[in-house]
């Protein structure tokens, strides 16, 4: 994909108009398994539409979980989603009626298939494929609408980090984030467990003193949570890549947030507010509230991407040093490769070669501009590397959250 140097903050493209007023950059149908027992049937339905915009998401658990329901509600009504097929075994706890009602009220086509009612595996697969086929045709009629930078929500994550991540890709994304905020977009950075050690410098960027206290408290919560688990957000590969401590990884990860003021703190499924067309930078608190109950806050990068998408992210900017290959269901993932050696080995999986900064071939500003332009090209319909390779990873696990405090979203 060639980068058009004329792409700037005034760039416009055609998006998809949703009845709730939001605008999408993709027009995807999701097939949703409501318990692991419906996973195979759902996967077989999706398999018949391999090269079309039909993605598989779901929740494996049989026990009820308010967080998982809210995540699925937000994902199925995401602006990149045009409709949803819910696949239930029949006896699981997921509240399929509420989920279907939420989707219907958003103006999207929705169908629920209950395997026990349909008469088993084969009949459900056939019914599901027929519904997807007819709904795909209906989705061609979704009205198109002009979109601009200020319509976008952009999330960022780093995964497979090494010591180059914090030198090139993360600060490069930070530069792009500054441009997006300036142009009126809403941006989200996350993983409070990867901000351990940065809490005081981060708090200085909060828009209000009350928000600053909430930001520090969210990182302290993460510290206590990970201390109970006896394990930080630090994989063995991180140390092999030259990172020594959690706070060193944190400082590198923190660079993704750029230099803008921090507008607010959100939790998974909260969509950052947009007031008077202004952009903003939001911290996503991914660590559950209350005592440690269901294990690690996010079991892997894919779980974090799912949460960023549930907060409305149209595009995910993913910084990697060691070389992650993942993409995602629903929203495209732009891979920014920090390490020039990794880029040479895995260039087919990467969208931006930020590691060239280390070889003296580019400046941080140039890489930031390329990330900005590549994101807008993606929004306009160009496929990312992970989309072209068919990556549509998704995972959702158990969590519990308390509602946001009153200081988290200052006016």
């Amino acid at each position: 994909m060639n980068i058009d140097s004329h792409i700037d903050a005034a760039f416009e493209w055609q998006g998809y108009a949703r009845q709730d007023g939001r605008k999408g950059i993709r027009n995807t149908l999701v097939v949703v398994y409501l318990v692991e027992c419906a996973h195979h049937v759902s996967r077989e339905i999706v398999a018949a539409f391999r090269d079309q915009e039909v993605h598989l998401i779901g929740f494996g658990g049989c026990y009820p979980n308010a967080y998982a329901l809210r995540m699925l509600q937000q994902l199925c009504t995401h602006p990149n989603v045009g409709g949803a097929l819910l696949v239930s075994l029949g006896c699981e706890s997921m509240d399929r009626k509420t989920l279907a009602q939420t989707i219907r009220e958003s103006g999207r086509p929705v169908q629920t298939l209950v395997i026990q009612r349909e008469g088993g595996t084969r009949k459900t697969i056939e019914a599901g494929r027929a519904w997807i086929q007819s709904t795909l045709e209906a989705l061609n009629d979704v009205p198109r609408v002009p979109m601009k930078v200020s319509d976008l929500v952009i999330g960022t994550i780093c995964g497979g980090s090494d010591a180059t991540s914090g030198l090139t890709a993360n600060p490069g994304i930070g530069r792009a984030f500054d441009q997006f905020v300036q142009a009126g977009a809403r941006t989200i950075f996350e993983e409070t467990g990867e901000l351990i050690g940065c809490e005081s410098i981060m708090a200085e960027r909060a828009r209000t003193p009350e928000l600053a206290r909430e930001l520090v408290a969210s990182v302290e919560k993460a510290g206590a949570y990970y201390a109970t688990l006896g394990h930080g957000s630090f994989a063995p590969g991180n140390a092999e890549g030259g990172l020594t401590t959690q706070e060193e990884k944190s400082m590198g990860a923190y660079a993704k947030s750029g230099a803008s003021n921090i507008s607010g703190l959100i939790k998974p499924g909260d969509i950052p507010p947009q007031k008077d067309g202004r952009g903003g930078l939001y911290l996503l608190d991914v660590v559950p509230d209350g005592p440690v109950r269901f294990g690690f806050p996010n079991i892997n990068d894919v779980a974090e991407i799912g949460e960023l998408i549930a907060c409305g992210s149209h595009v995910i900017l993913f910084a990697t040093g060691l070389g992650s290959v993942v993409g995602s269901a629903i929203s495209p993932v732009v891979k920014v490769c920090a390490n020039p050696e990794t880029y040479r080995r895995m260039s087919e999986d990467m969208d931006v070669n930020a590691g060239r900064i280390l070889e003296g071939e580019s400046t941080l500003d140039e890489v930031g501009q390329e990330i900005f332009a590549r994101t807008l090209q993606t929004a306009a319909g160009a496929k990312t590397a992970s989309e072209s390779l068919g990556h549509q990873e998704f995972v959702l696990t158990y969590k519990s959250f308390a509602p946001l405090g009153p200081s988290c979203l200052p006016n």
Binding site: G197, Y226, A227, G237, A239, G242, E248, M251
Partner: protein, 103 residues
């Protein structure tokens, strides 16, 4: 004296350099005050002590503390799990298995 162009100093406050490229064992490195010959390979992105550091001293990178020295560290020595640790959480290591290329 300027330091080696293969080493980055991310903040003027820092007491470690970061290797911008992989450096082989036996090569000479110019630090700010002296030149040293490294006895070990320094992979891309790894840290090198910019000066002699004493046990307990904070390791500064990006202008911020990333942990403390667990022993005295000579100028030019690599700074990693063997001579520093987190002030927050222990670092989990995999048993002697390496995916990354050895230099």
């Amino acid at each position: 004296m300027n330091h080696d162009s293969r080493l980055l100093l991310l903040s003027p406050r820092d007491n470690v350099f970061v290797a911008r490229v992989g450096i082989r064992a036996g090569e000479t490195l110019r630090l700010s005050e002296q030149a040293i010959t490294t006895s070990v390979a320094i992979p891309l992105g790894f840290k090198v002590a910019a000066r002699a550091l004493t046990a307990g001293e904070k390791i500064l990178k990006y202008g911020a503390s990333i942990g403390s020295a667990t022993c005295d560290i000579a100028a030019g020595e690599t700074v990693h799990l063997h001579n520093m640790q987190s002030d927050y959480l222990p670092t989990y290591e995999r048993e002697k298995e390496r995916f990354v290329d050895e230099h």
